[in-house]
Amino acid sequence: MDDPLLIGGEAFSSRLIMGTGGAPSLDVLGRALAASGAELTTVAIRRVDPAATGSVLDLLKDLGIRVLPNTAGCFTAAEAVRTARLAREALGTAWVKLEVIADERTLLPDPLELLTAAEQLVGDGFTVLPYTNDDPVLARRLEQAGCAAVMPLGSPIGSGLGIRNPHNIELIVDAAGVPVILDAGIGTASDTTIAMELGCAGVLLATSVTRARSPELMAEAMRLAVSAGRLARRAGRVPVRKLALASSPPAD
């Protein structure tokens, strides 16, 4: 595997992690996931609905995509820890995308509850991937708590505002010893490429694909955007200059 993404001792060839929320149907979701090349996909944990038809788990099994349960909808560390344990029981995975949000209006992470939950889940043997603010200090504390990655937001969930504070994302990347995965706020392919150029190890997105006019096309765009940004990062961009630097030899 060339240039794998390593999380918690496991290797992934795709650096794009997809969410499954927002798709108009399982059929559309399935085609988008296939086009994205994602090997890891988030799901939420909710009450069983006896009237539900079709199962996202069956779809992911058919596609051979690994499930990453999240704790979406939790406002406290206690709720998030309980949801992670339920997910481990239901899905047989100790991996969790940890979300502890502060309020419905912004869906921004509550940093104190998030860190508390991360510490408890790491102690309980979970591989914790926390959705966090774009705060370099909080990212460092989450890494110190034993998280397998840190996943700062570019902007609020579902906003499509892109990366509002690229400088902070760079600071997080520069300091982190675990993969930094840009999570939330991606609007279109160029946002994804910027995240990778800033040095993120991967991108997690859902809305920008699942609510696009053509989810399948946007999923392919995101797959290519992750690759383009990653290659550019590895290639090393030229320095920005204030004046021209001729690319042709001087005239004779």
């Binding site: 927002g22 799901v43 939420a44 909710r46 996202v56 788990l57 309980r82 339920l86 997910a87 899905l91």
Partner: protein
């Protein structure tokens, strides 16, 4: 007696097991987790777990999200 399953009150026999309560909602063999009064119960213990009057049972699964 009466138990509460996923927020809805339900009549149940006095010796009802957690496995029977889960079966009220789903026959799925995998992908399901259950909690009684907030405590997660491993699937292997569902048959042996007897419910009491007023117990609150949560039966959960994975759905699209995130």
């Amino acid at each position: 007696m009466e138990i509460v399953v996923n927020g809805k009150p339900r009549r149940a026999a006095a010796d009802v097991s957690l496995a029977q309560a889960v079966a009220m909602l789903t026959d799925a063999e995998t992908g399901i987790a259950a909690a009684v009064n907030g405590d997660v119960i491993r699937r292997a213990a569902w048959e042996a777990t007897r419910l009491s009057d007023g117990d609150e049972v949560e039966v959960l699964t994975a759905v699209q999200g995130g």
